[in-house]
């Protein structure tokens, strides 16, 4: 560790982590549909084949299920595969291999073997990604014993957690939200590690705890800043970073201090990780809660495509602000006036011109 940092994007950070891992350990291999194409999966795999060769970095047949099994077999044979899918939705074809094989292999065979496998899944949003290019299904993966599910919200955590994922002896689902790929942060040089299973306090606070993950943490931070400036409300934002195993001590510690919980989720509302957070907090900390916990997540509907249909569809900072104010019995804001959804609403920034 040099102790130095560079301000780089989330996507660059992912690229750096894979390159570092491959440089450190010749057993690390990297593949996915498009991994070696000119676009390099949003730049996350760019340059890796040139540095590490065709044998270790390669494109693949459009066979998500078999190629996941191939990764499992390769892992059993001593390799550390890093597999990438440009959208999580395509990976659904591979659930048999993930759930019946990768997640079970260690336990089911009496702990003799493990499957050191990292599966990068990119989640889309906006620009008409629609019903089958936008699904945040981390709750499904978090339901499965034997899997680890990592979903960082910052570029520095992306690097640190991806390195930890690659060198973890277990199968890790590593979820990258497409709207985070161009976000920047100061990222430490070298072998920067962030432990799996540890949440991060993004902002300390005393009145309300917001538990969040992935892109929702960005909206949570906007909301927390607004609440501080406008209402002098002190919000603590806990970014889970890993949703299985989940850092319960961090969640309980924060809610124990604030007595108020707002759980956010980038996935559908029913069966969400946010729901699990509320359930556990209600069971463990019921007597410390000043008000009922609240939850904001995606509607229980497929995500539509037309920009006319997605306006107001996503949870934005405005709804978070009002949810917090309601928990404090305060007056709420007129979101359209004080904290409207940005225009255009379906892109991470006006620089984004698609196509995906």
């Amino acid at each position: 560790m040099s102790g130095r940092e560079d301000t780089i994007s989330f996507a660059q950070s992912v690229n750096e982590a894979i390159g570092l891992a491959m440089g450190q350990d010749p057993s690390v291999i990297c593949y996915g549909l498009g991994a070696t194409d000119p676009k390099g999966i949003f730049g996350t795999t760019s340059g890796l084949r040139e540095r590490f060769g065709d044998e270790r970095v390669f494109d693949m047949p459009t066979s998500e299920n078999a190629m996941t099994g191939v990764a499992i077999g390769a892992a059993l044979g001593g390799l550390r595969p890093v597999m990438t899918h440009q959208r999580l939705d395509f990976f659904l074809l591979a659930l048999d291999q993930l759930v019946n094989a990768a997640a079970k292999w260690h336990y089911m065979f009496g702990g003799q073997q493990s499957v050191p496998l990292t599966i990068r899944l990119i989640v889309g949003r906006g620009w008409g990604q629609g019903p089958t290019h936008s699904q945040n299904l981390h709750a499904w993966f978090a339901h499965i014993p034997g899997l680890k599910v990592v979903m960082p919200s910052t570029a520095d955590d992306a690097k640190g957690l991806l390195l930890e994922s690659i060198f973890d002896p277990n199968p890790v689902i590593f979820i990258e939200h497409r709207w985070l790929h161009n976000s920047v942060a100061a990222v430490p040089h070298g072998d920067h590690r962030v432990p799996i299973g540890k949440a991060r306090t993004m902002r300390p606070g005393t009145d309300v705890t917001i538990v969040s993950m992935s892109y929702m943490t960005v909206e949570a931070m906007h909301a927390a800043e607004f609440l501080s400036q406008r209402f002098n409300v002190s919000v603590e934002v806990i970014d889970l970073r890993t949703v299985r195993p989940l850092d319960w001590p961090a969640v309980f510690g924060s809610v124990g201090r604030t007595g108020r919980l707002l759980a956010l989720d980038s996935g559908f509302t029913t069966g969400s990780v946010a729901g699990e957070v509320i359930a556990r907090v209600s069971i463990e900390l019921f007597e410390k809660l000043h008000v009922s916990p609240r939850r904001l997540a995606m509607p229980d509907m497929p995500e539509p495509t037309s920009p006319a249909l997605t306006r107001g569809f996503y949870v934005r900072a405005g709804q978070i602000v009002n949810a917090v104010l309601r928990m404090l019995d305060g007056p709420t804001i007129n979101i359209d006036v004080e904290l409207p959804e940005p225009t255009p609403h379906d892109v991470p920034g006006t620089w984004f011109k698609g196509p995906f």
């Binding site: 270790r56 047949p61 191939v70 077999g73 702990g111 003799q112 493990s114 014993p145 034997g146």
Partner: protein, 323 residues
């Protein structure tokens, strides 16, 4: 022809051993102490016996829910397998896997799966690891005719061909997927090997109940793979005698005819091998008598080990989610 005689006797011994183990499982299963779904392959011993002669200990193999014979053929520990079926802590998966999840990594037997087709790409991935590690091992993937109806099978063949991987795909075609006959699942006259050949693997189709011919075909494929030929698929016809899952005969329930069973039984692999040895003037019975006594002692001791082994502690259910 001493080398050929030696091979035939080894094949016969392996087939007797596998069958004796499985007949004993069938005999004891009704006692209710083997409390897991158990799929016997009695009648199908020819292919596994042949594999035992052709693979090295450091070669890999993966298999299916019907995997006892493959595990034993690869050299898997008999006591550990039986203890696993009995749910004991001395089992090869400490009682967590049962009959459908067998493993013995000390002999390259990397696991079996209860999900049809599930282990096929895993065997291909082991082939990828062999290639990237630069050694001359072979990865053997066992499956049945049902698995050739899964999409993952075609995906796996394709990738093995694209990367020219050292994989031997071994299809034991026993004509039934549970109780569904081949003719309701695949068009008449279409060969599994021919379809695979169109994808680009080298192929061979043969009579899986002729253990010697099967052994020659597998040896030919394995030698070619070690010399860099890329993947092979071998399809062998054979027939399971007992029900899909469990110890009983089921010819009376109506999904197949007693006549079909009798026809297959008449040319079953052990009888065929005994006959060919007798015709060559070899005194099979004289050779078999001490062999069977020796095998009986081994099998009885293995059952004694399995039945007398302790169960895992109940707390073991809750440890080991992660490595």
């Amino acid at each position: 022809m001493q080398p050929e005689l030696d091979t035939r006797l080894k094949l016969l011994r392996t087939m007797h051993r596998i069958r004796m183990v499985e007949e004993e499982i069938a005999l004891r299963y009704p006692q209710g102490n083997m409390r897991c779904p158990t799929h016997l392959s009695i009648g199908q011993e020819g292919v596994p016996a042949a594999i035992a002669e052709c693979l090295r200990t450091d070669d890999y193999a993966v298999s299916t829910h019907r995997g006892h014979a493959h595990y034993l053929a690869k050299g898997g520990n008999l006591r550990s397998m039986l203890a696993e079926i009995y749910g004991k802590v001395t089992g090869c998966a400490r009682g967590r896997g049962g009959s459908m999840h067998l493993i013995d990594t000390s002999v390259g037997f990397m696991g079996t799966s209860a999900i049809v087709g599930n282990s096929i790409p895993i065997g291909v991935g082991l082939g990828l690891a062999i290639t990237l590690n630069g050694d001359d091992r072979v990865s053997c993937v066992f499956f049945g005719d049902g698995a050739t109806e899964e999409g993952v099978y075609y995906e796996s063949l394709n990738f093995a061909v694209v990367r020219k991987l050292p994989v031997i795909f071994l299809c034991e075609n026993n004509l039934y997927s549970v109780y569904s006959p081949l003719e309701v699942r695949q068009p008449p006259g279409r060969s599994i090997a021919a379809v695979a050949g169109a994808i680009g693997v080298h192929t061979h189709a043969g009579d899986g109940n002729d253990a010697f011919a099967t052994c020659q075909a597998i040896r030919n494929a394995v030698d070619a793979i070690r010399r860099g030929s890329g993947p092979w698929l071998l399809e062998f016809s054979t027939y399971r005698w007992r029900e899909h899952c469990g110890p009983d005969y089921d010819n009376h329930i109506g999904y197949r005819t007693p006549e079909e069973f009798e026809q297959w039984k008449a040319r079953e692999p052990i009888a065929q091998m005994r006959l060919s040895l007798s015709e060559a003037g070899f005194d099979v019975s004289a050779w078999e008598a001490p062999t069977l006594i020796e095998l009986r002692a081994e099998v009885d001791a293995a059952f004694e080990f399995a039945e007398s082994s302790p169960f895992p502690a109940p707390e073991e259910a809750y440890v080991g989610e992660y490595a």
